[in-house]
């Protein structure tokens, strides 16, 4: 494969993109993992979001909250129809191994718990409870009101409560 010197390939005016990438990529990747439950999908979503940010870097860098653009892009991209088709295919290709009684731990429980939530609740709980956004900030990312975010989180927590109580025993 052809070796490319990316230090040189960064176009003029995009040098600070690398700093932005280093500051935000890991957190975005992990947030998308929590939302999607798939490392591969998380990687795709995070990388796609950064490609879009790079294409519009002159504008994105001037935004009050460039990271907000990333999260909005990644969440929106997740609903792309063709992507959904491919993800369905990917799931069909790599079914999860069945759970074995006695092997589950807290981590398995939270993974299973998240998987049972509707996508909208999962997005809200990851953005607010894990990422630490306010309801209003999460609302801006998700395109809904702060009140709607609160409702989603409340419902998600109610669904997760039995699981959480078990894990605390």
């Amino acid at each position: 494969m052809e070796e490319i010197a990316y230090g040189d390939a960064m176009e003029a005016g995009q040098a600070d993109f690398a700093d932005f990438f280093r500051a935000e990529y890991q957190t975005l990747l992990r947030a998308m993992y929590l939302i999607s439950g798939s490392r591969d999908e998380a990687e795709e979503l995070a990388q796609d979001a950064f490609v879009k940010a790079l294409e519009r870097w002159d504008r994105v860098r001037e935004m009050d909250n460039p990271a907000g653009y990333l999260y909005r892009t990644a969440v929106n991209t997740r609903s792309s129809v063709a992507r959904r088709l491919r993800l369905a295919a990917q799931r069909a290709l790599a079914p999860r191994p069945p759970d074995v009684i006695g092997e589950s731990d807290d981590r398995d429980q939270i993974r299973r718990g998240l998987a049972t939530l509707p996508g909208s609740q999962r997005e809200a709980i990851v953005l607010v409870e894990w990422l630490g956004l306010t309801d209003a900030e999460a609302g801006r990312v998700l395109g809904v009101s702060a009140g709607a975010v609160r409702v989603r989180i409340s419902r998600a927590k109610a669904s997760l409560r039995p699981l959480m109580e078990r894990s605390s025993v």
Partner: protein, 400 residues
Amino acid sequence: MSDLKELLDREARLVEAAPEALESVLHRRDRKRRNQRIAAGFVGIAVFVAAVWMVTDGGWLDRSEVPADQTPSRFVDTWTSTEFYSGSSQTMTIRPAADGALDITLHDDSSWLCSTRQNRLGGVDTPSTLTGTGRLLDATTLVVPSFQVCPSGDALDVGPSTVEERATSYTLVLDVATDRLFDNLGVAWHRGATPENAADTTTECEILEPQVGSPGTCSMLRGEVTFRAAEPWFAHLDSYIDPRLFVLTSGPGLQGRLVTMDATIEILANPNPLPEGPCYRYPRLPASAEALVQAIRSNPDLGVTVPVAERVGRIDALRMDVAPVPGASRCPNGGVPVVSTSNSGWGTMGPAELGRLYVLDLPGGSARTLVIMIMASEAAFERAVEAAAPVVESFEFHAG
């Protein structure tokens, strides 16, 4: 009860960024540019060949000459579509099979479906293929219950994935008027090569920031639809994320995204009639403009004027004014739904707002319909319509 954040944290720490992640992003950007250049070159050749054929041989294809009994065979061909977000091309080949069935092969030129992690991170194109067998439900509807996935051959349910819609198989409907196939994932398929458009290089609106304030040409659907906008309109952030959506607001468009939407223009590709139940749904089979207008007019939550025929960008459109009735049901964002979109939050209007709608069938390209919604408070509505007029008059369609 265990601390939820701590549990989420533990789960999140399972995923680490690959050391080469930044290089991978740059690879992807370069690959995307290369694919766009290749596509542009291919389209140029295709246009030239078509022009030569028309002059020297075939003349224009008269679709009215296709005998009715041959309509099912009009599915048999190679069809292409472009993925909304990545721009990657998908090809679908439909061939006759035994017992009147049709064999379908879906091919994606750069999917990660069959690729290794190393390829994905290295930005290496990995084609993927899905195969299935379908049957005609009627002359214009082809239904495919399932696909076999590369290369393991596992069965795949490709219908919409929400529980209530899961019973639906993958469905393709032939739109005879434009000779396109629409599927129930909202995708348009074109016979032969995807008709790229000349406006694909159009710069987007330079009106993102209020202080910039200069007019610009806005594009959506990858340049298939363009229009001009200037102050007082500013592009909303979502316009730069979803190619099927453009939103202009009369307030500051971006600062913190806490916008003052005194008036808005929403331009929505492929909105659908409202579903029963939740306000938003993932894409379905795109409805025609006529079906959309009928659904809006029969919505008991909306008062709607009689549609008037108009032209938008030299395309026939229907214009009508709408207003929510007192006590109209609302979506979670507080808006009264007018149409359903896959992008939550749009296609609704404030309970005290008035709206002017233009609804039209697109002549070709990746979407079936376009709805332009101008919305403002009653006091500001006439001024908003007046300010929106130059935008509406500037629409151009570059596909079909």
